[in-house]
């Protein structure tokens, strides 16, 4: 509601055109009812302040360039270093620097902040990071398995060789029991005429015959083979009683004796295997039979196998090579160490 106490604010709104539309009718009615205030309103309409053209002459001194900002140089320099300046900005900035040598030191300090990686620092455990393909892993396992097989072969052949070299001992034992079996007398000849056919009797007679031959040294060479007669003569006990017992003794085993005993116990085939091949020779013969030549030599396979085994065992297992052949296998650990010779003497 417009009254004579609050009309001024409505006058001002009216003159500035901000009077609300729903108040306009009320405002005009108020003017009609108050003619003195209507004249006052007309007086306000003529009052306008003239626009003055006053210009500040020292404006040039107020202008600031980007370098006048405290951090402007930093921003521009870093932007230049990081390659963030566009178009002609880098050139204009460098020109600006040349004209302001006092900024050059700050600029140089910024350039020194660029770091260079120390390529001397290397990751030490790189080998642990590498991964092997499935084929490689499979091949490695095959190689390991092959190495184990080769080693087992070698060990087995070693034991075979050792057992054969022990044969003279057994031969001696057989020799020592000879007197118990048959009396060493020429009078036992009738025994040969015995008709008994038991296997035990046969052996006794053969041993007798052998001993007899040993005594007389009549067996010639390796080719002499005793012939087992089918009809074993019956013993003449009366004759045996008259035999003077002879004490058993360890005789020097001649080749003939060894051979004779060997024939008796039917170990002739074992004698032939005294020429057992070494692991190298065996593998070489196998490869030769298989038609393999050159690269796939037994020696090479054995060495590869042993190298792999050595690697697996942490260098506990090793081997020595003499004249291109593996001479011995060596094993060394905290508890024990031994060497197994492989070469045939």
């Amino acid at each position: 509601m417009i009254t004579r106490d609050n009309y001024e604010s409505f006058f001002l709104d009216y003159l500035e055109g901000k009077l609300e539309e729903d108040m306009i009718d009320e405002f005009l009615d108020f003017l009609e009812q108050n003619s003195d205030l209507k004249e006052e309103l007309h007086l306000f309409e003529n009052i306008h302040l003239p626009e003055e053209q006053i210009v500040f002459s020292g404006k040039k001194h107020l202008y600031k360039s980007f370098t006048d900002e405290k951090s402007a140089l930093d921003i521009k320099t870093i932007a230049l270093m990081e390659g963030d300046l566009r178009d002609e900005e880098p050139e204009s900035f460098e020109v600006y620097l040349t004209t302001h040598p006092e900024l050059q030191k700050e600029f140089d300090l910024f350039l020194k902040t660029v770091m260079v990686a120390d390529i001397g620092i290397k990751y030490p455990d790189k080998q642990k990071l590498y991964r092997k393909s499935g084929t490689t892993i499979l091949l490695n396992w095959v190689m390991r398995a092959a190495a184990v097989v080769v080693i087992l072969w070698g060990v087995q052949s070693l034991f075979q060789t050792e057992s054969i070299t022990k044969l003279p001992d057994s031969n001696q034992k057989i020799t020592s029991i000879k007197p118990k079996l048959v009396a060493p007398d020429k009078k036992i000849e009738p025994m040969v005429k015995s008709k008994e056919n038991e296997s035990g009797e046969m052996i006794v007679s053969q041993v007798n015959a052998n001993y007899k031959s040993h005594q007389s040294h009549t067996i010639n060479g390796l080719k002499a083979k005793p012939v087992i007669s089918k009809s074993v003569p019956q013993r003449d006990l009366m004759v045996l009683e008259k035999i003077t017992p002879i004490m058993a003794s360890l005789d020097i085993n001649t080749i003939e004796n060894e051979l004779a005993v060997a024939h008796l116990v039917n170990i002739e085939p074992i004698h032939e295997t005294r020429k057992i091949m070494t692991v190298d020779e065996f593998l070489a013969s196998r490869v030769k039979k298989a038609g393999g030549k050159g690269l796939l030599s037994a020696n090479r396979i054995l060495r590869i196998g042993l190298s792999v085994a050595s690697e697996i065992s942490g260098n506990r297992l090793g081997y020595k090579v003499i004249n291109g052949k593996i001479a011995s296998l060596d094993f060394e650990s905290k508890l024990m160490a031994f060497s197994i010779p492989l070469e045939k003497k």
Binding site: D74, I75, I78, M81, E82, E106, L109, F110, K112, T113, V114, M115, V116, A117, D118, I119, I121, K122, Y123, P124, D125, K126, K128, L129, Y130, R131, K132, S133
Partner: protein, 161 residues
Amino acid sequence: MNSKEYNQSVDLYSDNIYRFILKNIRDEEHARDIVQDSYEKLWRNIENVNSEKVKSYLFTTAYHTMIDVIRKEKRQTSIEDYPVAEETHDEQYSDLSEVLNEAVKRLPEIQRTVILLRDYEGYSYKEIGECTLLSEAQVKVYIYRARVFLKNYIGKMEVVV
């Protein structure tokens, strides 16, 4: 990605990641573990990682693993034991690189990370942002602050010398 490309990534990036982590945490044992752990994760996800993105994958993985390690270490280290990063000028430096290394040690963790990725690996703002989960604007700000800090540190050292 196959095993061959994986092994190539070992040749190409393992040293870089190791340097990056070592510069950040200055602990060789942890750095080695983090590199190994990153490659383990890569190997487990080898079928899902594109060979072109492998560097980014490795750095991102290494960075986040490093953050985990740092947080874990912080939990285990009491405030009294933790080194105070204050500027002291008692050290004797023979060349700029030593001064710079010393200054880098004193940078806040995130600033150090972004500036190492920038200078050592030449990563763009975007790449650094992807690695550290920051926006490009944030990366810019951190690089700016790091450069200013390094510049001021070098300047002070030169004055002292």
